[in-house]
Every structure is written in C-alpha cells, then in structure tokens.
Symmetry: C3
Subunit: 359 residues, 3 copies
C-alpha cells in the first residue's frame, strides 16, 4: 500500500578516480583506475573513499588519513595515493559529494492518503506523500515532490523539479518556480505584520498580495516569508536562505543573494544581487541594499547601502571601522582612566601656571 517508488534513482555504487576528475575538470596524478565509493573528511575517510585537502590547517591530517584518493589544489608529497588536482577544491568537493548523494526519495503513485482538490493540475511524475493537502486550482509541475504535512493553498503554482520538505505551508496564490527547494517547517505567504491604530483598536491591513519565489531558490527550514500587502514579496532566482529567516511583506531579494540564519528583513526592503547577509542581522523597513553588499553577522541596518559596501555593527558602519571600534570598546575603562588622569594633570599645570604668574 505505502512505499517509495521502485523507479527511484540511486547514487552510484562506485566510480573511478578518472571519472571523478572528468566530473570536476581536474587532472589525475597517480592511478586513475582506483575505484571510489564515497567521500569523507581526511579524518573519517576509509578505504575506497576520496577526501579533499584545501586548507593548510589540516596538513597534519594528511599523514594519518585512510582515504584512497584526494582532491587537491596542487599535488602534495604527503599523500601516496592518486590525487585529483583542481583549481577550486571546495567546488570540486561539492560536485563529488553530488555524485554520491542519494536522490530525494519519491513516493509511489498512490495518493489515497493525500487530499488533492479535483480542480488542480498535477504534472507527470509528481510525488505527493500522505497528509499533503492541495487546494483548489493549484498547479504542480513535473517531477516535483511534496513531503507529508505540506499545505498548498488555493491557486498556488509550483514549478517543475521542486522539492517541498515536510510540514511546509504555502498559502493561497503564491508562486514557486522550478528547481526550488523549501526545507521543513517553512511558511510561505503568511500575512504581513501591518496594523493601524484607530483609538484603542489596531486595524489589520489585509494582505492582498502574494509571495513569488523564482527558479533555483533554496529556502531553509523554519523560515517565514510574508505575502505582500499589495503586489509581491519577491525572492529572485538563485537566492539561498539559511534556517529561521524572516522576510516581511513586500521584500525583494535579488538574484544569488545569501541570507544566513535568524536574520530578519523588514517590510518593503529591497536587496540587490549577490548580497551576503550574515546571521542575526536586522534590516529596517524600506531600506535599499545595493548589489554585492556584505553585511556582518548581528549587524543592524537602518539606512540604505550602496553597491559593494562591506559593513558590520549595530548600528552598522564600514567593516574596517567596525574592526577598529569594536576593539576600542573593550578599552573604554582605560579611556575613562586616561581622561581622569589628564584632567588631574591639567589642574596641576594650571595651578603651576597660576603660581608662576603670581610670582
């Protein structure tokens, strides 16, 4: 009755070092025919596994590793087995991990435990796990996977090849693109936080807009992304968010931007392309953040930032200045002592001068 599809694709059992080199655009030094069946850190790798060495801090791990092959930036004499030389070992590691990753498990054809409104359009090879609810006139693209506990509201459109992990809520009218990943427990399309005081009453501003998430976006676990009051909250292609991120109503996040965990972005903030926002950052409403800006963790951003600015602190300042000031804050007790000593000395000097004047 229940059970994952038998059509499931599996991770390869074994591939050669040569195949790995081809996959990452590297060159082999040593025995290219060596068979590899997994990837692990230098410490954890066992026989038949490939590891990677990109950071000199881990040099001492090289002699003791049991890995059968290595991804390296340049050939090292400290490892006897075959080495794959690549310009960017971290990127190569990501790609090789991809070779050994299991595909996201699919659910079979049965939808007897899900509730799918009859007016929906569901693509081919869509996995709808038990306890999924799909409302009226929703559209789900080919190959998309909806895990248990997913709620898909009326008229929601989800693209192809997208994965929605368990207990995700996508409310009415939202648009999710192709090849999007939404991690567990995330909420898309909750009402924005907008109230107007009218005497003793707080009048709610109804949120008539929606959330639009473009292709290749990945949203972390436990995020809350509010719908627009009017128009769209818009997460553009390739954006990646970490866990427990809050994106308020009408926020726009540009292509390829990264947002680290526990960051809150207030209403109507516009963020450019390829911005990097650290963890626990707060951004005030209506602020504009230019392309390529970098914001240090725990910063508070109350004013707009020009493209390429690098800032830290709350309130934020240029990162270089913050490095100086944050060091000096610890010296404030010393400053206080110095001020007191100086004031005392000036009194003494003034007395000496007064005495000298009188003499």
């Amino acid at each position: 009755m229940t059970g994952a599809s038998s059509k499931e694709r599996h991770a390869p059992a074994e591939i050669s070092v040569e195949d790995i080199a081809r996959a990452v655009g590297g060159t082999v030094v040593g025995d290219a025919a060596t068979r590899i069946r997994g990837i692990a850190s230098l410490e954890d790798a066992g026989d038949g596994m490939i590891s990677f060495y990109a950071d000199r801090r881990y040099e001492e791990c090289l002699s003791g590793t049991k890995a059968s092959a290595l991804l390296v930036r340049e050939k090292t004499g400290l490892f006897a087995g075959p080495q794959v030389v690549v310009s960017n070992p971290q990127l190569a590691y990501a790609r090789v991990s991809g070779l050994f990753a299991s595909p996201v498990p699919r659910y079979g054809e049965g939808r007897d435990r899900a509730v799918v409104h009859e007016s929906c359009r569901i693509g081919r090879d869509v996995s709808i796990y038990p306890f999924v609810y799909i409302g009226k006139d929703a559209v789900i693209g080919d190959g998309t996977i909806l895990f248990p506990g997913t709620f898909v509201g009326d008229r929601v459109r989800i693209g192809a090849g997208t994965v929605i992990y368990p207990n995700v809520t996508i409310l009415q009218d939202c648009r999710i693109g192709d090849h999007v990943v939404i991690h567990a427990g995330t909420v898309i399309g909750s009402d924005g936080f907008g109230f107007v005081r009218d005497g003793d009453e707080l009048v709610k501003i109804p949120h008539l807009g929606r959330v639009r998430i473009d292709d290749h976006v990945e949203i972390g676990a436990g995020n809350c992304i509010d719908r627009a009051a009017l128009g769209e909250t818009w997460i553009k292609a390739g954006v990646k968010t970490d866990n427990l991120v809050h994106l308020a109503h009408n926020v726009v996040v540009g292509e390829g931007t990264l947002v680290v965990a526990l960051t809150g972005i207030s209403g109507s903030v516009r963020i450019g392309r390829r911005v990097v926002i650290g963890g626990q950052v707060g951004i005030s409403d209506h602020v504009e953040i230019g392309d390529g800006v970098m914001i240090g963790s725990q910063s508070g951003i109350a004013k707009s930032l020009s493209p390429g600015e690098v800032v830290s602190g709350s309130p934020s300042m240029p990162h270089r200045l913050w490095l100086k000031t944050s060091g000096l804050i610890k010296r404030l007790p010393g400053f206080n002592d110095r001020l007191r000593r100086i004031e005392k000395k000036i009194q003494d000097i003034e007395k000496r001068l007064d005495r000298a004047g009188r003499e």
Copy 2:
C-alpha cells in the same frame, strides 16, 4: 468529496467611490459614481482600481498612476480622477483593503480526513480541514476555521470566529479566545525552559500551567509560546505578534501590545498595555515593562522600564542618549587619537614648565 464550502462569502466585485467614502468616513471630490474593483499601489494600480497618497516621497508617482480613484489626506491637483479625502489615509487604506479581501476559505462539512475525539464540543459552521487532530474534551466555538495539520490537544478551548492556519500546534489545556488569528507553524503551549541542576543531572521543572490567549489577538507564523510552570502564560486582548517570536513561560503581555519579529521574551516578564517592541529584542526574565513603553529593535532589556519610556541599545538606554552614543561609537578611533595627542601635549607642557622652573 473534498472542496471548500459553497456557502463561502466572496469579496465584492465592484463598489462605487461613494460607498468607499462612506466606509472610511471620507468626502468625495470628483465623480462619486466611479466603480472600483480593487486597490493597489500608485505604481501597480490599473483601470478600475483605487490607490492612496499619504507620503510626499511618492508625489512623482501621482502623474503616472493609472488608478481610477485616490485616497488622500487633502485634495491634490496632480490627479484628475475622483479623490476620497480622509484624515488618516493609512487607516482608510486598511479599511478599503478589507473591502476587497477574500474571506478566509472554509472547508465543507465533511470531516472524514480529520480526527475529532467524540468527547469534543464543536460549534456551528466550524471548518475542520483534513489532517486536523482534536483531542479529548476540546471545545471549538462557532465559525472557527482549523486548517490542515492543526493539532488541538486535550481539553483545549478555542473561541468563536478564530482562524488557525496550517501546521499549528496547540497543546493540552490551552485557552484561545474569540476572533483570534494564529499563523502557520506556530506552537502554543510547549513546556517552558526550566531545569534545576542536581549534581550531573538536569532535573526538568514540569510545566503544569497553560497558555491563555484572549480575544482579537493575532500571533504571527513560527511563534513559540510556552505554557506556564504554574498558572498561565497570558496574552491579553488585541496583542499582535510578528513572525518567529518566542514568549517564555509565565510571560504576561498587556492589551494592544505589538511585538516585532525574532524577539525573545524570557520567563515571567510582565509587559504592559500598548507597548511596542521592535524586532530581535531580548528581554531578561522577571523584568516589568510599563504601559506605552517603546523598545527599539535589537535592544537588550535587563531592567524594568517605567510607563512611557522609549529605549534602544543593548544594554538599553533612553533612545535619545542611544542616538548620541551610537554615533559616537564610530568615533572611538578618533577619541583614541585625540587622547594620545593630548597626552603627548601634556608631556611637552610639563617639560616646558620643568625647564622654565629650572631656569
């Protein structure tokens, strides 16, 4: 089998500018018979839509807007169509949005996919979506809507006209009032974080109390509100919380208070009426916050605050002082330079004085 109720109320297809003026207590300048079928920003509004103009920063949008009518504070010559003049355009915008908002969609009579314990008392016109679980002796008031994935624990009481969005957890014995909104993924009634060390062991303090949420409260998405150790964690009437807010055990929040996203309020904190708490604020346990206090975002509140105080910073200080000090922090490197220069000059002066004394 499945499907939303046919009794669903719909948003009006079209209303006249005159009707809008009546709804918001405004006066019409221009053609009061103009038909309106929606509301949008000046930029997005098309033919047949009303927009609003309250902030001079948007004056340049007035000439280009395609809106058919406008909500304004005072008649503007920059817009040719009918205008509704109101004293508070933002409030009017909220009320007009309400006219065009679709009602929360209801689920039909069938409860075949939900689990409702036979000992429950369920009111009239209650919508219980699939995959809702309602425990023993729970009480649900008339017209309340429970979306999929909602868990309602034993003996929970929920009032009338309340909306519980998907994947919300309300644990045993909690009380939810009338016309409350709880957004998706929120947890009400988790155990408070209380442990007592006994040698190597951390002994859990059992939480025997509950959470009480009064009428007209709106709780954002992804909130966690812990039950009291003994007695009640109490969210009073009209409180509104944003997303990802943490309210610890035995917290009391007064009427009409606003709490912005990612704020954490520790155990036994008592907050007054009409307080405004910014985003990412932390409040230490047992602190008392007086009525009407305003707390800037990212503040850290370690001490009680008197009614009407306006504070910012971590540790917090009066907001005006914080504005000064936060500007001066950036000047710490300059302070350091000035101190060094002063110390050098004093040395020079002392030498000159010593020389003069010897002469």
Copy 3:
C-alpha cells in the same frame, strides 16, 4: 474509533506531606499527615495545595497564602501549616511538580490514520498518533510517543521512552536516543547551508551526513538542527535547548549544555560540557567553546573560548569587563565633552606658555 489508551497512567489524586518529604529528601515540621493534591505559587495556591518559599522577595506573600503546606529552606514562623525543609527548595519544587504532572497522553493501538512503512521495526507500547508518517527501515524503541504530524524519514532510529511532539520533522538517517523530548514544530536533519560560487552559479554542497541526538536530550519548539555535510551533527547526552534555536551542520554540543532561545550556532562549532549559552547569541563557524563556559545573552562569539570563561557582548569580552564597558558606552557623550574641554584648556595653556616665553 479514536481515543487515548485506557492504560494511561494518571497523576496521583492526593499524597501526604510525609510522602512529599520522602520524595524530596526533606524533613517535616508540623502535621505530616496533611493531604496534598497539587502544587501552586504562594499567590495561587488554594486549600490542599503545597507551595514553596525560597526567595525573600516573596516574604510578603507568606502571610496571605492559602497553601496547606510549604517547601522551605529553613522553617519560617510566618506560615502556620506543615513545612518540608529541604536544602534546595527549587529542586524540591521541580520534583514535587513531577509528582503532580500528568503523563504525556498516549494514543491507543489503532494506527489506521498513520502511515508506517512495512519495513519498520516498532517496539512495544509505542504510541503512533494519526497523521504520523514513518519511512522505510525506521526503528522506533519501546514506549516512544509520536504525536500527529510527525515525519520520520527513511532509516531514522528513535530510542525508547522518547516523546516527539506534533509537527516535528526528522529527516532520513538521523539517530535519536532514549528518553529524548523534541518539542513541536522542530526540524531535525535539514540540509546545512553550504554553497560554493562557480561564476554566477551557487553550487550546493550536498549534505551526506546525519544528526545524532543522544539520551536525555530535550530540544525546544521550533528548533532547526542541520545534518552534517559529512559525518554527524552531534547533540550529546543531557543537552537542553530552548525554542527557536539554530544548530548548523557538523556542530557538536557537549553533555549537559544549555542553549537559550533564538541562539544561532554556525557550522562545525564544537561546544564543551555544561556550557550555558544565553538567548540570541551568535557563534561563528569553527569556533571551539570549552567546558563550563558561560555566554551572556545577545553575545557574538567570533573566537574560541577556554574552559570556564564567562563572556558577554558582541564582540564578546570577559563578562566583568563587559559590565564596565557597557556602563561606559552610555557616557560616551560625556567623554566627547570632556575631550573638547581638555583640548580647549591645552590650547589656553599653550598660549599662556607662549606668552610667558615671549615675555
């Protein structure tokens, strides 16, 4: 059809003061035969209830309390009824609360509304509530309770006597120990936040590892704990986390450590035993935190900390220094004034000296 098990254990209706004294290792002063049927604060306690008095701030509540008995550190003359004298009244309170706490409610034998893959191994007396999904080859230990909306991925192993509250997501391959509590809405095993830029593309680092949670751990509501890229994210025995905590990939948290709400711990951070981490703290990646460290709320930890350090602030510093500096920050406007006065005086002095020199 549905309903909690009739085998349910109930909290005792009434016990004697003598039994309570025995349970907490205390001695009775007064009538040891007095029957007690609950515990409450001094203010809320009614007839037949025991309360506790450990903090002089509550002395004034003693005269008015209606409690029938008291847990005290030393006998007080301000209360007429029987008193149980114990060395640690807070610990005694926790233990007595445990006597009156209702057990976590169990669900009967029927699993008709849950989906349990036939390849699973389910222990004895396991409660599987409706709308639970358990994937292939999962293992659930004796007496464990899975509340509605719980997702248990393929090959997950959960120990004995563990409670998983509603709407929790535990993804594939994770390991949960015995007597663990996971509060509602928490996500275990989401992918870590790892991407490598390759020109315009952000290449995802697949996360092939898992999360391991050892015995007697309690995880708060709305937590997100990411799986390791390779190897394990490891929460060791007796760790307790508050609500909305983020633990990134490959984090290791040592035995008996406490993490307060809204704290974010970045990738590969290693935390020692019996550490206390306040609320809204951020810890940068790869940092090591020694045993017994204490970190004040809202701190930012960018560098490793030695065992026993007590720190606060962002960036962090020794807590005693932070107490000084955070007080001095408020005096920065005064510092600025003093610097200006000093500079003026030095100018005056130099002029006097120049004049004196010329004379």
